[in-house]
């Protein structure tokens, strides 16, 4: 008798995998949460779901048993790097860090101090590849209605958000702290988070994925600013069209006036741009920032033009208008009254628009976790905490987070940033303080560790960790690309 046979009763099915014999409705699971009704079929859900999620997240599939790949345990041989995930921590750190591990790397005794830090002082820096206007600089960024950070500087082809930090985590209301903590943890664990910007857009941010601005997924990062686009494509346009305008909220480029057009002897066209001219063929502020063409607020590109100058313009003159991503493009021919009339785009120009698109990199959100290792965490590593800081500054001690490389800020303290997509899945946790729990590892020569006042009595050889019960099995798919 098959143990997975079922009897259909209306839309319900009856599972006979075990004597409970659950009736299961479509889309629901039985009492065990292991068997479910999927379109009238009894399916087993537990191992497969785990596998699918791993594939979905672009993770590496690894065997459950010890093998060449990550085996799901904290410690891995050979040339193992011990990560702090799951190491546990205490606060304040009057006790030595949970794992102080020694191993030989290149014949030198190395010590890795592995701990999980509770970071009340932490945040994330988010880079969103889009030219669309997400909100004015310093505007408040909200999650669940609570202020969790602000819009900071616009950078090349991207908008930056600065979220979290001590003021939102502990300085505001209790709910603000809790929502901030949840937001930081979800972003750091590469989960999607919806953020609403005061006076701006709503954006769904997920590390390593394209941003979704006002329900529209951003596909491409722009190829360059409007002026740069003119420079890159001027030769390809030469002879095929009389005028090209690359609409860009930052710098709109005009082919006939641009240095690149001048070099190709492109004739004046009598075009009249709105906005403020910076240098020939380069215009600032042709429109307001927005989510339309090239990060402006316009949907009709002609709105950035004034009337053509009849001294230079002529009926039949052709013009291409295109955005910096090639996402928007239109082709015009001037009529007898010198008004641009939209006309079907010739195929060679369409090809140049596609070429712009092709040269745009995929738009992504990147999330850097930023945290500071405070006095008490350092005390878990050494009796004389400031020596750890100095050792890090002197590059004798390497700092990593979940095994991922970090950037340590110059200046005081050990304040670091790490790309969360380089860390194993689920690396971040939280405590209700509210604060985030993040892994942090310090690796140094055993002799250097002794010199900086390390807890030498607690140093354990790598092999002892591997056999220990403190070594927790975790389903970690390994590094995410």
């Amino acid at each position: 008798m098959s143990t997975e046979a079922t009897t259909a009763i209306g839309d319900k099915i009856r599972c006979d995998a075990c004597p409970v014999m659950c009736y299961i409705k479509p889309g629901a699971a039985g009492a065990c949460d292991r068997y479910a009704n999927h379109d009238g079929q009894l399916v087993r859900v537990d191992p497969h779901v785990v596998l699918e999620r791993t594939v979905e997240h672009g993770g590496r599939l690894v065997p459950f048993q010890i093998g060449e790949d990550w085996d799901g345990k904290i410690v891995r041989q050979p040339d193992v790097f011990v990560t702090a995930i799951g190491a546990g921590t205490t606060y304040p750190d009057y006790k030595p860090a949970p794992f102080i591990v020694s191993s030989k790397i290149d014949g030198v005794d190395m010590v890795t101090v592995v701990t999980e830090g509770i970071f009340s002082y932490c945040g994330v820096k988010v880079k969103i590849d889009t030219d669309r206007h997400l909100g004015p600089e310093t505007a408040t960024v909200r999650a669940d209605g609570e202020a969790v950070g602000h819009v900071t500087t616009g950078e090349y082809g991207s908008q930056m958000l600065s979220l979290g930090g001590v003021h939102h985590l502990t300085g505001g209301s209790k709910k603000e702290g809790r929502v901030t903590c949840d937001t930081l943890m979800d972003l750091s664990n590469c989960k999607p988070v919806e953020l609403a910007i005061d006076g701006g857009a709503t954006v769904v941010v997920q590390a390593g994925r394209p941003p979704i601005v006002n329900s529209v997924m951003e596909e491409r990062m722009r190829v360059g600013c409007g002026s740069a686009t003119i420079g890159m494509f001027a030769k390809q346009w030469h002879g095929k069209v009389d005028e090209v305008v690359v609409v860009d909220d930052h710098i709109t480029g005009v082919l006939s006036e641009h240095q690149a057009g001048k070099l190709l002897d492109i004739a004046d066209t009598g075009i009249k741009m709105k906005g403020r001219r910076s240098t020939p063929g380069r215009y600032f502020q042709v429109a307001e920032p927005g989510t339309g063409w090239g990060g402006t607020n316009i949907s009709d590109p002609l709105s950035v033009l004034g009337p053509f100058n009849p001294k230079e313009a002529r009926p039949g003159l052709t013009m291409l208008m295109v955005s910096t991503t090639g996402e928007h493009a239109a082709y015009y021919v001037l009529d007898e009254a010198l008004r641009p009339i939209e006309t079907e785009m010739p195929s060679d120009l369409r090809f140049s628009v596609e070429r712009i698109q092709e040269n745009c990199e995929p738009a992504l959100c990147t999330v850097l976790f930023m945290g500071g290792a405070g006095g008490s965490l350092r005390a878990g590593v050494t009796d004389n905490p400031v020596r750890l800081t100095r050792s890090v500054k002197d590059a004798l001690t390497r700092v990593t987070s979940g095994g991922a490389p970090v950037y340590v800020w110059p200046g005081g303290g050990i304040t670091f940033m790490v790309d969360v997509t380089q860390m194993p899945a689920g690396a971040f946790g939280y405590v209700p303080t509210p604060a985030l729990v993040a892994p942090i590892e310090f690796t140094m020569r055993l002799s250097d560790y002794a010199a900086l006042g390390g807890h030498m009595d607690y140093v354990r050889p790598l092999s002892s960790i591997q056999d220990s019960a403190e070594f927790r099995p975790m389903l970690i798919p390994g590094r995410r690309p």
């Binding site: 075990c18 659950c22 009736y23 799901g72 809790r178 209700p432």
Partner: protein, 298 residues
């Protein structure tokens, strides 16, 4: 062909995992090597066939318990009944409300019959039966959000405490709740008593008629549920502080009555990041997470 449960050690080689249908147990026995070996053998032996035993009386187990009459025969089924009987006169409850704790207790008893152990526990999806020999203790972590990592507080249970059962109920659990608590954790003399009481207290944490609480008939979700068409909580909107307080107070009131009747030793009630503790000795101690943590960090 006889269906056999899954019996295997976890990767740490120290804890035994037993699974059959909806029953999922993590078992640990500490003692001399031969004693824990014997205890694990006893656990596996007792576990085999236990689900079939329960399912023979499943229809009766899913019916409302009568306050003074038990028609059940199986030893685990009768333990389930005994755990819910004190509540049967006042409200609707079926023996199923104590199934997890009763199974945990049964396996632990089988282990202790077979061997003398220093410390042992049987964890049935969060409902835990434990054994502590003289001088032993167990640290228990309470989580406020089962979908997140992070422990809200820890408690240490020693030999002298009367507590040998721990259970948690609430709307994030695997079974339905009539109330809105995120979690109610109960410490009691036995796991089956803790299990039944956690269900009752979690049901009492409620805001009847509140528009932000989405409820659905249980049998629309699970056709053969023991709750029939009773409305179970599916979603709870963000509540104001005073609403949270009101709901927690209703649950705490229930918990205090159970404490007074000697049915529980203590309870922790959690709702939207607020917690209330009820325990012997202090009538009521309200714990704000961050205030408590500030004290620790100060």
């Amino acid at each position: 062909m006889k269906r056999l449960p899954q019996i295997a050690f976890l990767p740490d080689g120290k804890r035994l995992h037993l699974q059959d249908g909806p029953i999922d147990l993590i078992v640990e026995a500490k003692g001399r090597t031969h004693a824990s070996r014997a205890a694990y053998d006893a656990a596996a032996t007792r576990f085999t066939g236990l689900l079939d035993e329960l399912c023979e009386e499943l229809a009766e187990l899913r019916r409302a318990a009568q306050p003074s009459h038990c028609a059940l025969k199986g030893v685990v089924a009768r333990r389930m009944y005994a755990a819910v009987a004190p509540f049967a006169a006042e409200c609707f409850i079926t023996p199923m409300a104590a199934v997890a704790g009763s199974v945990a207790e049964e396996i632990l008893d089988a282990m202790l019959d077979a061997a003398s152990l220093d410390r042992a526990y049987v964890n049935n999806g969060g409902d835990i039966a434990l054994h502590l020999a003289e001088g032993e203790h167990l640290t228990v972590g309470l989580m406020d959000r089962p979908d997140r990592s992070g422990v809200m507080r820890t408690m240490v249970i020693g030999t002298d405490d009367p507590i040998r059962g721990i259970a948690t109920s609430g709307r994030y659990g695997r079974s339905f709740s009539l109330g809105i608590a995120d979690a109610v954790t109960v410490l009691a003399r036995t796991a089956s008593m803790a299990d039944a009481a956690a269900t009752i207290i979690a049901n009492a944490v409620d805001l009847p008629g509140h528009p932000g609480v989405v409820r659905r008939p249980a049998n629309e979700l699970q056709p053969d549920t023991d709750l029939g068409a009773r409305l179970v909580t599916r979603d709870v909107a963000a509540l104001t502080e005073s609403e949270i307080e009101q709901a927690l107070e209703a649950g705490a009131d229930c918990a205090r009555r159970l404490l007074g009747a000697g049915l529980i030793e203590s309870a922790a009630l959690l709702l939207q990041s607020e917690a209330t503790m009820v325990r012997a000795g202090d009538v009521r101690s309200r714990v704000h997470h961050d205030r408590r943590l500030e004290e620790i960090q100060a």
